[in-house]
Amino acid sequence: MTPTQSPSAPSLTRVGIARRISQDFREGDVINLGVGVPMLCSLFIEDEDILLHSEHGVLGHGRTARTQDEVDPSLATAGRQPIIPRPGMVVMDHAESFALIRGGHLDATILGAFQVSVQGDLANFWLPGAVAGAIGGAQDLAFCARRVVVAMQLLPRPRRFVNRLDMEMTAPRCVDRLVTDIGVIDLEDGRAIVRELVPGWSLEDAQRLTEVELVAAPEGIAEVTLKSDRNDLWNAA
């Protein structure tokens, strides 16, 4: 259950996880990116019509501002990254932004998590021992987006992917896919189906990182491939 039991094989960095997640995006998708790893997905959206949604009411914005001249202090992601406009962009108030979320108008939300169960239960708003939480927009997103993908680093942290949550639940049975540093796992009918693994990782290696019983995909387990030549996608073996 510790990283020392892991094979001497590479793993995905936070940016690498974001690259893998973004490869699932399709032209026309409306997608909300949570703070942290999910927001890194925006690095990989160029000219395609993928509409990114920031829950404070900005939809379809362009890339991150690169120079001070491009920065408009009133135009930023929910994570406060300055962004530039782009045709098709639209601004709305917070209530409408959540009408969009709750009404099922988002194709997918990419979230971080403290913990996910094999049933797809998500915990990401209340740390054990805390007196309060930070639920933000996560509960609306997790309950209502058509598809919920969680970015998860399995390697450095224990008890991330579990049989039953031992933290406060954000939303029940909502997570469709985990994209982790070692592979891609789909949650279907209470089972954890391993679709892809990082080269060098076997199902048995992966199994050591979680108490959840991992099941190989019936069509076989593919290798994770990243369509990018950035040099910050992989942790060395």
């Binding site: 936070r14 942290g36 927001m39 890194l40 920031s54 829950e55 404070h56 009411g57 900005v58 991150t64 501002a65 920065v71 408009d72 202090p73 009133s74 135009l75 930023a76 929910a78 994570g79 406060r80 990254q81 300055p82 601004v91 709305m92 108030d93 917070h94 209530a95 959540f98 009408a99 979320i101 709750r102 708003f125 209340w126 740390l127 021992g129 805390a130 007196v131 309060a132 939480g133 930070a134 639920i135 933000g136 927009g137 996560a138 509960q139 609306d140 309950f143 209502c144 406060e168 639940m169 954000t170 939303a171 029940p172």
Partner: protein, 251 residues
């Protein structure tokens, strides 16, 4: 002649009393927080406020930590003169209850001012998701008693609330919030109180507007004319207008 412009922020907030319920517009780190009005409230000797805000985890002491925690990506820094977040009122001990979506910093090494208040035993936190908070405030503005949302059913957030099933799906009753004061920030106003916002600084400001018995807005500019088709907040929702100390767009 209608003219809702008030001379100063201090004058605009002079009739807020201890024990009042106050809703604030604005969202976490992005512009749109009514900093000038929050500073004016902070300068008054108030106690037992109930605050309603999307984000109230950070005080002034913690104001820098949010933006810095972005893994090396660029972010918009605080202005040098600082911003007065809603959590500052908690830092000063003015707050006895917060209805909010971010009451904590989710940082196990550091308590925000509300968290510290809960540990002391003199602050109560009612945590709620952003969508439900917006609907509760919209109910206040729109004269509705409440709404049923699927969000939160079966979780800590839905505990103790009325549940009703629609098409077999459990929904939670979220009831109207009608604060005594609604405190917001906008880009431009006309003398009637019609408002427009700049890009992503809109956030919860138009949602909070009109929810309170009295709505006070800080703006960067008061102008003679706004295009009727571009106005976001209609004038009847606004009672008092003051000029903001923090003028991001107008220089």
């Amino acid at each position: 002649m209608i003219n809702k412009v008030v001379e100063s922020a201090a004058e605009a907030v002079a009739d807020i009393e201890s024990g009042a319920m106050i809703a604030f517009g604005g969202f976490v780190g992005v512009p749109g927080v009514p900093s000038t009005l929050i500073k004016a409230i902070a300068e008054r000797d108030l106690r037992d406020l109930t605050i309603i805000a999307c984000e109230s985890g950070r005080g002034r002491a913690g104001a820098q930590s949010y933006g810095a925690n972005q893994g090396g990506q660029p972010y918009i820094p605080e202005p040098e003169d600082g911003v007065y977040p809603v959590g500052y009122l908690a830092e000063l001990g003015q707050v006895s209850k917060a209805i909010t979506t971010f009451s904590s910093l989710n940082n196990s090494n550091f308590d925000g001012p509300l968290e510290a208040g809960v540990r002391r035993g003199d602050v109560e936190i009612e945590l709620i998701g952003q969508g439900s908070l917006c609907e509760r405030l919209r109910c206040g503005r729109a004269g509705l008693g409440g709404v049923y949302t699927p969000v939160g059913a079966g979780t800590k957030i839905g505990e103790g609330k009325d549940i009703r099933h629609f098409d077999g799906v459990p929904h939670v009753l979220e009831t109207a919030l009608r604060p005594d004061f609604a405190i917001i920030s906008a880009y431009q106003a006309d003398r009637f109180g019609n408002l427009i916002y700049r890009y992503g600084a809109r956030t919860t400001n138009p949602v909070v507007a009109g929810s309170g018995k009295v709505t006070i807005v800080e703006v960067e500019e008061v102008v003679d004319y706004l295009d009727p088709q571009h106005i976001v907040t209609p004038s009847p929702y606004v009672d008092r207008i003051v000029l903001s100390d923090r003028r991001l767009m107008v220089r």
